[in-house]
Symmetry: C2
Subunit: 355 residues, 2 copies
């Protein structure tokens, strides 16, 4: 397959087309010019300019002392492409960076596969690629290999992006959804549901004066700081589609433990809370794009929270619950009024194309 | 993000839905049931059942003696999904296996990111996933991590698949599009254009009695045999979109050499030749999905051809051209009648959504 690196990486033609057409996916000259102009210039790095259909790295550089390799993938179909606080390009880089980070890995290399709809303005593509470039730079990762497909008008909605990623997990880190145990504490790094609310408002489905920015951000430096404070973090996952409730149900089921949440400890923006009340949405299920959920040994809570709060991405970090022996596999919310209710997996769809 | 491994991997609910709906992309219960039923059962392996959002491997197992890691990605949007000789599932596995193989790598692990259109029959998805399972088994790779997105009816055409892949390049292999030099020979492993013709006929765009099967197949074992015969293979690339002409132009430009092809040596199926004549298509530009182009030192030609012909994927291997000093960056076809013409990069689109 012809990929981003399948061009000479030296001549950078500036294409004159204003919109994507089918020849941009042909494998021929138009595709190579699009890639050379739009992608290679933005993502410039030695692997991408090496002219091959795959990026190749020295294994020894990755680690020789018990490190492990992490590998993940995500496709992004968010609608609209641009929203307060980010766009599909930021999302595509940060989402995959975060999936790597949740294993404790240092994210290193990303791939980028795009599906373009015929007729997409080239300027839109340039904006998205520029966001990817900035996000990759900010996260310290390189986009080293890619692929471009074009489909006829009406066969895709504007632009979809897949990013796969690889990273290196330091020796001695053992994070898994199955390691939660009674006595552990549940920690999150900030307010819930910002991304979901941002998309909802950006779609015009909610007539709100306020503009809620997405929380889209990379979390690997926060994770590294948390691991320095407590190398024995038990579980870690980013609360994207399905929100906090979904992640906690995954932890409870995989670890066969109960999890009790304290409602009054959950950080929520006032405008997100308002939007949820108006629309009957539960912020526990709203998507986030810069929030993680950690399960840590009870005695490590203060050290982990202190480490988190020292970084912008962890400024609003809070301990929101605890792991208990029973009921196994269930998540219970303790409400402000002394009551409690089961927080189940999301059934049905709350908000399609959120990421 | 919730991925294929984000489920308990033990209970395998059989979903009752007959068609994909938006809740299958929600991050909630419907998505997890779809993944557990359709994907995890088919792709079953320890990494996928490890319940995490990323697959993690011991770096030491990958190599400690100068091996390198290869990383690639491709999105598949072929239309129709099913065609003689294969389907989008075979393509998604073999295409990425081949991109890894072209660096000399042993393909190891694949990711799988799908975009599903609301309303897609679940049975169609099952058939495609079964093809991916079979192709992965045949190629000796594991599909270790994944992602599922669902978009509204009309926002995508049925099903798109992205696969990224990683593999290990043995020490001492140094394949690159920039290594062709005068005196080298150009070798291909069989008939040209079969995949392009198969898709064309499957679309009903050509009323032919004959059914041409796609050549979709994995090529890594063929490459391994070629490297045993000649560890110093200079260039290697699979001739997919854009066909043989595109790959040779890439080699000629990257290496700053000329390439001369002998028309009468090019292997062509009679029915593909006929289809091209009727439609005015040039088989040099038609897509292949199981054909590679190698540039090898002149003295190694016979050894490489012998090694190739010993395997089914190389049965029709042939030396089709030679590398010359000039004209730099150009590909020249010597016709059967003593004439010659320049074979340029493809301009415009010959056949959209071929892969």
């Amino acid at each position: 397959m012809n990929d981003f690196s399948a061009n000479d990486g030296k001549r950078r033609p500036r294409i004159n087309d204003t919109h994507v057409n089918l020849s941009h996916g042909s494998g021929g000259k138009a595709m190579r010019d699009l890639i050379a102009d739009v992608f290679v210039g933005a993502f410039d790095n030695p692997s991408l300019s090496a002219l091959e259909d795959q990026a190749v790295f020295d294994l020894k550089q990755l680690g020789t002392h018990g490190e492990r390799l992490a590998f993940t993938t995500d496709t992004y179909v968010v609608d609209p492409l641009f929203f307060p606080g980010g766009d599909i390009g930021h999302l595509a880089v940060n989402g995959t960076v975060n999936d790597l980070a949740m294993s404790g890995a240092r994210p290193l290399y990303l791939s980028c596969g795009v599906v373009l709809e015929e007729g997409l303005p080239i300027e839109t593509l340039r904006r998205v690629v520029e966001s990817m470039r900035q996000a990759a730079l900010a996260a310290g990762v390189q986009i080293v290999t890619g692929d471009t497909k074009v489909v006829e008008r009406g066969s895709a909605d504007k632009l979809f992006i897949n990013t796969a990623g690889i990273g290196v997990v330091p020796a001695g880190i053992n994070i898994s959804a199955s390691r939660a145990q009674p006595g552990d504490a549940v920690i999150i790094n900030g307010t819930l549901g910002d991304h979901g609310a941002a998309i909802l408002i950006a779609r015009g489905q909610l007539a709100l004066q306020a503009e809620v920015p997405s929380d889209c951000q990379p979390l690997h430096e926060l994770v590294a700081a948390m691991l320095r404070a407590c190398p024995d973090i038990h579980c870690l996952r980013d609360a994207t589609r399905g929100g906090l409730a979904t992640v906690l149900n995954e932890f409870a089921q995989s670890s066969q433990v109960g999890i009790r949440l304290q409602e009054q400890t959950l950080p929520l923006r006032e405008d997100v809370k308002g939007a949820c009340e108006i629309l009957g949405l539960d912020p526990l299920y709203l998507a986030n794009e810069g929030k993680l959920v950690a399960v840590v040994p009870g005695e490590a809570v203060e050290a982990v929270l202190a480490a988190m709060r020292a970084l912008p991405a962890g400024r609003d970090a809070a301990c929101v619950g605890r792991v208990v022996a029973a009921p196994r596999g269930a998540v219970i919310l303790e409400t402000g009024f002394g009551g409690e209710r089961v927080v189940d997996m999301l059934v049905g769809e709350q908000l399609p194309r959120i990421c």
